[in-house]
Amino acid sequence: MMRVVPDASYDDAGEGRNVPRRLARKLAAGLAEFRTLMMNRINDVNATTCREVIAAAGSVAAVVDGATAHVRRVKEMVASIEGGDGGGVAAAVARQSEVLRRFFESVSRDIARQEAVAERAQQHLQRITKAASDTAHLASAARLLALNARIEAARVGGHGNCFSTIAGEMQHLAEQITQANVFIDSVASRLSQDLPEVAESARALRASTEDLSHDLSQATADVEGETAVMRDIIRRMLEQSDQEMAYLISSSHEALSHLQFQDVVAQGLLRIEPSLHDLQVEQAKELGLEDIISDLPVAQHREIGGDKPVDQDNAGEVLLF
């Protein structure tokens, strides 16, 4: 700003028109320079604050965008765990459990069939043993009968030779039957030892399978329980995230609302321009320099309704027609 120093020719009588014209022009030029410097400074300040506000708003937006993206990623992960479309971990566990349950059911049925077969085999074996015992009695009776027949044949003498031969064959047949019975007895004895073991193994296997199936059901129920708990925790976390996001967005709206005052202040500062212009005009008139008024640049009125301060009573008002 130009500094004005009174000189000896200055007539300080309080009347501008008495000021020498040279000094008056100097004063007018100083005022013009002051106006220019003032407006340049205001424009600089406005530009700087505008940049800062845009940067601040950008930071606010970055925070909200980051939080929004984070919540979206969490929701996507939760959706993959919950697997509403059948692709989730919980759904996979449930499907696997179902497959295993069916497998164990099938194995249990097979084992039960084996048990039944073993039981029937034992019954058959008992019948075979009884039949073999009956046969042994018959063989013994046949041997005794053959012996009596040979005794009777010997008593008859030469006429009983043929009968004696038949009795010998009968005795031989009875001995073969006895040998066959011995063999059947030994096989039946081995079978009677083995079959209960087979049946016992089948029962043990069935018990183990049932225990395993029961444990699997319990484990599945535990997994489902844990999944339900986890789902509940995640649901509550998501609800909290949504609330925090709503708060974050609300806070960012609040911050953006506050940041608008940069524009309000900038407009207020720009209103100095017409005041300075008017001051120049008044001063020029006062100093008798009407001829330079026409040279003064016209103030830039950007408002349609004229420059006026923001009516704080109306600020923020929303009218929908």
């Binding site: 940041l259 524009d263 309704g305 109306n314 009218l319």
Partner: protein, 123 residues
Amino acid sequence: MPKKVLVVDDSPTVRQQVGLALKQAGYEVVEATDGADGVAKVGGDPDIGMVILDVNMPRMNGLEMLETVKAGGKNADLPVIMLTSEGQQSLIERAKKAGAKGWIVKPFKAELLVAAVKKLLVA
């Protein structure tokens, strides 16, 4: 597809703030720096579904833009909200007559602006 909102204001800070608030609410935002720029954007982009319009701007002010855009029944369905520091009833009536759907006085609450946009875009 998100609705596209045109924000017309000569103040970069206001454009930024309105833009951020609307983007947070899920809207796509395009900007214009004055009325003439705004008229060109509306004419060149049929996807624009709403206009947020300042009043005091260089070259062509907001009311002139509104009257140009709505002239002859053009863009009758395009909702326009005036966003300005002006509160004169005569200006509000002029905007209403020209086809504006709302008038918001600066400085505004961002959430109220978003609520107004939502309401008009649903209607």
